[in-house]
Amino acid sequence: MAAPCVSCGRALSARLSLTVRASLARRPGHWKPSAVDWQMGAGSQLLKLIHTTAVTTKKNVPASRHEVYTEDFIKKQIEEFNIGKRHLANMMGEDPETFTQEDIDRAIAYLFPSGLFEKRARPIMKHPDQIFPKQRAIQWGKDGRPFHFLFYTGKPSYYSLMHEGYGKVLQLEKHKGPLPVKTQHRDLIGSRWLIKEELEEMLVENLSDQDYMQFIRLLEKLSTLQCGPAEEEFVQRFRRGVAIQSKKQLIEPVQYDERGMAFSTSEGRRKSATAKAVVYEHGSGEISVNGMGYLHYFPVLQDREQLMFPFHFLDRLGKHDVTCTVCGGGRSAQAGAIRLAVAKALCSFITEDEVEWMRQAGLLTSDPRVRERKKPGQEGARRKFTWKKR
């Protein structure tokens, strides 16, 4: 009987069980419909899909009972992946030895063009270590004795971390006393504790929220006591850096035209309008849109206010010249697009603090709001048909 392919993804939600993840390294027969029951239609060969209620909302469920991949299976998958990689390189006419993961992604995107919006639903070909969740290897030797001394607790890695951490706390308390010493919080700024999912991934174990909270409390206690380099390193293992938002802002490089005038270009989008703006460093506040003056192009005051906003915010009204082109959208959308483009272009001429202020004011964020589609059975996106009692 036909066995339609279903993804054996970790997220057992209905939506994902219907999508298909094709991969050159995997064959359909390996997929296990763990979240799905099959039922025979009455007297026919048709199969009807029934979804069970075992739905988890968490996506990263490590090592759930249903999917146990043996080491041999993983090894075979890795071999198949490597062979497939070489075939793909030959197909694309490139050297199999220097075929990197980016090349693979490009080749797959070329050979299997997909119009799906969800990036994770598109065909992928990656190393099996990145596809199959990490599983624990067999934890006991040939004589049956487990390797870890806390094996019988069920969560050996987590409890051994707690044991280690508590040992360090005891040691420090013995030497220095139980009260926290006032030290500078050097590395705690600009970094955050691991989240529960990251910790679970690191330990390849399921943890409860209480376990996680206890662990963070232990680490905080350890960090408040004055500790040596070994303890510092232990604590740093569980901190992740938080990138300062403003550093992510892309600042356009300043260019010079044939007359030696400094300018910078940038683009902006709002709804379906796109705009390209060229801002000159020295000018007299003239703005020309699509060849016309801004007063002529935007008769409404509100739109002109939008154009002025970046300059008004930085107190540079009348100090810059702008030439921009815009297409698509309506009048308000075009005004918003030009505002974003101008703000981005201005970043090249101002200090970093001012860039941060602009970012916090929302001038450098592109507005994600787009028109919501109309749904069937309703009159508009939200408006329902008039309800009639009878």
Binding site: W140, G144, P146, F149, L150, Y152, T153, G154, H163, Y166
Partner: protein, 288 residues
């Protein structure tokens, strides 16, 4: 005395019948008939035997010899009634907390505090340590269980030092009874469970006591005056709340287990030597 002599052969016979579930090491340890064993003791070997037969005999010799002595590992010398007294092992709880089944072990009560009879403690302790040593000698898995947070760290360190296992954390429901599902189909359960605290954090008997009895796992346990000694194979009446007492127990168990493992290593090396030296070794064996 009696429990040690009868309990172990009973377990061995049980192992022979239900060979599938029982751990591998006990299967080989069936006591041989008197004739050949007597001949082995005097050390007159037969070099004409084939190799697999030789190995089998070797195993039987290594495993049977300690069972012929009442205190093969000499655990008596590790403690004395005086050292137990100094470690405050005799101090029990108040009379109101007394458990009915602990009354035989209580010497009396002073100022409403129960005092445990150290003579009985000493004999029970000797039996328990002897049993632990035998289990460790036969390469059994020993699990230290306790739910007292004051000594959690110490007990885990003790287990690490002996090379055995510890469980001083939240005890999940079917850990022993449903181990096949939790760990895997071929997991090996502990062969001995040592309770340093029989009660859990709400002063109820630890679930592992009952589960070990269900799974036929022998237990050694320190029972205080408020504990139930019924389901524990080798109870040791004694104080489980004072730090010196718990430190003493940990030291005793650690020393016994290490001693037994060392002895096993020595015996294996001894028997690896060629058959010519066996006569000399049999002479030294008696004295060791």
């Amino acid at each position: 005395m009696a429990p040690a002599r009868t309990a172990l052969p009973r377990l061995l016979c049980a192992g022979v019948r239900s060979a599938r579930r029982w751990p591998g090491f006990l299967r080989k340890a069936t006591p041989g008939p008197a004739g050949p064993s007597g001949r082995m003791l005097t050390g007159a070997p037969n070099p004409a035997r084939s190799e697999p037969q030789d190995d089998h005999d070797l195993q039987r010799k290594i495993l049977d010899l300690p069972l012929k002595h009442s205190d093969f590992f000499n655990v008596k010398e590790l403690f004395s009634v005086k050292s137990l007294f100094e470690a405050r092992v005799h101090l029990g709880h108040k009379a109101g907390c007394r458990h009915r089944f602990m009354e035989p072990y209580i010497f009396g009560s002073r100022l409403d505090q129960d005092i445990i009879d150290l003579e009985q403690t000493a004999s029970h302790l000797q039996l328990a340590l002897n049993f632990t040593a035998h289990v460790a000698y036969r390469k059994g898995i020993i699990l230290f269980v306790s739910r007292n947070r004051q000594f959690m760290h110490l007990i885990e360190n003790t287990a690490q030092n002996c090379g055995e296992y510890a469980h001083t954390r939240y005890f999940k429901g079917g850990l022993l009874t449903n181990a096949q599902l939790l760990f895997g189909p071929e997991v090996r359960l502990p062969d001995l469970i040592i309770f340093l605290h029989t009660l859990n954090n709400v002063f109820e008997p630890h679930v592992a006591v009952r589960d070990a009895a269900k799974m036929n796992i022998p237990t050694v346990g320190i029972v205080d005056t408020n504990c139930n000694p019924c389901l524990i194979t080798y109870p040791i009446p004694g104080n489980d709340d004072s730090p010196p007492a718990v430190h003493l127990y940990c030291r005793l168990f650690c020393t016994t287990i290490n001693r037994a493992k060392e002895k096993r290593r020595q015996m294996e090396i001894l028997y690896q030597l060629p058959s010519v030296k066996r006569a000399e070794d049999s002479g030294t064996r008696r004295s060791s």
